[in-house]
């Protein structure tokens, strides 16, 4: 509902997903490329179900996952609002995904003269940007335990379900975790075994189930900023 706040027409309640309400839901299979590095931003997507990974490819040809978008996330909004003319990363589906999509022009029209919509979009994009920065900073840390605990905290936030035992709902291999934290697969495996021995990871080894109480203690002890 539109109201007046000083001299601006503003929305009293605005949710970012409102922008996508009228659009068709489109299904994508697992492994579908949505954007290549260097692509221009033709569409902004809102995830209804499933997960999308953002990654780059190293000089050696290996894929490094930088970020994961989950249900309710809008991408690549951060790049769009930063003013990027082309994308710096690859975007592809990690699971089957359903998306609603709009053209950036619709977003611009919606923002025009509506400072609260702009503020809501900017705040969302800034929070995503902060998470990106935390993820990238964690790659440069020289402590494998810290890296894996920070990665688990990120995965819990983006794809976790359940308390106090939280299952990570996105399929992720040890190699993915190694690539996401800038470690070798061997170091990653060793850290996961250690975390399992102290009960921070529980359940069968083919699943990632995190004890949130122990995770919070580890985050505090290691001085990880989430």
């Amino acid at each position: 509902m539109a109201t007046e706040r000083n001299d601006y027409k503003v929305m009293s309640v605005f949710h970012i997903t409102d922008l996508f309400k009228e659009t068709h839901l489109k299904e994508y299979p697992k492994g579908q490329m949505l954007y290549y590095e260097g692509d221009s931003i033709e569409l902004l997507h809102c995830i209804e179900t499933g997960y999308v990974k953002v990654y780059n490819i190293s000089h050696g040809g290996s894929e490094r996952i930088i970020f994961i978008y989950g249900p309710g996330d809008v991408f690549p909004l951060m790049s769009y609002l930063r003013g990027d003319t082309s994308l710096h990363w690859f975007y592809s589906t990690m699971t089957s995904v359903s998306l609603r999509s709009i053209r950036p022009k619709l977003l611009m029209d919606r923002m025009r003269n509506d400072i609260l919509v702009g503020e809501a979009l900017a705040n969302y994009a800034i929070s995503i940007s902060d998470e990106f920065i935390q993820r990238i900073e964690m790659l440069s840390v020289n402590d494998s335990k810290r890296k894996i605990v920070a990665l688990l905290a990120f995965l819990v936030k983006k794809a976790g379900a359940g308390r106090p035992h939280c299952e990570i709902g996105v399929p992720i291999t040890q190699q993915d975790m190694a690539d996401m934290s800038g470690l070798t697969r061997e170091s990653t495996s060793r850290q996961l075994v250690n975390l399992r021995s102290v009960g921070l990871l529980i359940g069968p080894s083919n699943k990632l189930v995190v004890d949130l109480v122990k995770l919070e203690i580890a985050i505090e002890r290691l001085g990880i900023v989430i």
């Binding site: 930063r82 025009r112 702009g118 979009l121 800034i126």
Partner: protein, 89 residues
Amino acid sequence: MAKNIKTKNKPVFILVSVSKVTSFGWAAQKAAVMAMREVSYDRVAIYGPISLQILLNTLSHVADSYNEVRAFSNRIETLEWLRREMITK
């Protein structure tokens, strides 16, 4: 100052650093939108931390001034855009 320059029929290109700005609340956002709409300029290029880059580019959309006001994350990029705009203007 911008108005004075404009009265002399000269273009107004403004370079702004917000690198030391630590908070940007509602009043500042509103003032920024007002300034984008009302100040007489040709182009404004702003640089600062990424959070302000996102916020200011969003506000320039709100003010319908995105072609004239852009925010960047570093000074070099900012100057490059400003130079390009000066040439095409």
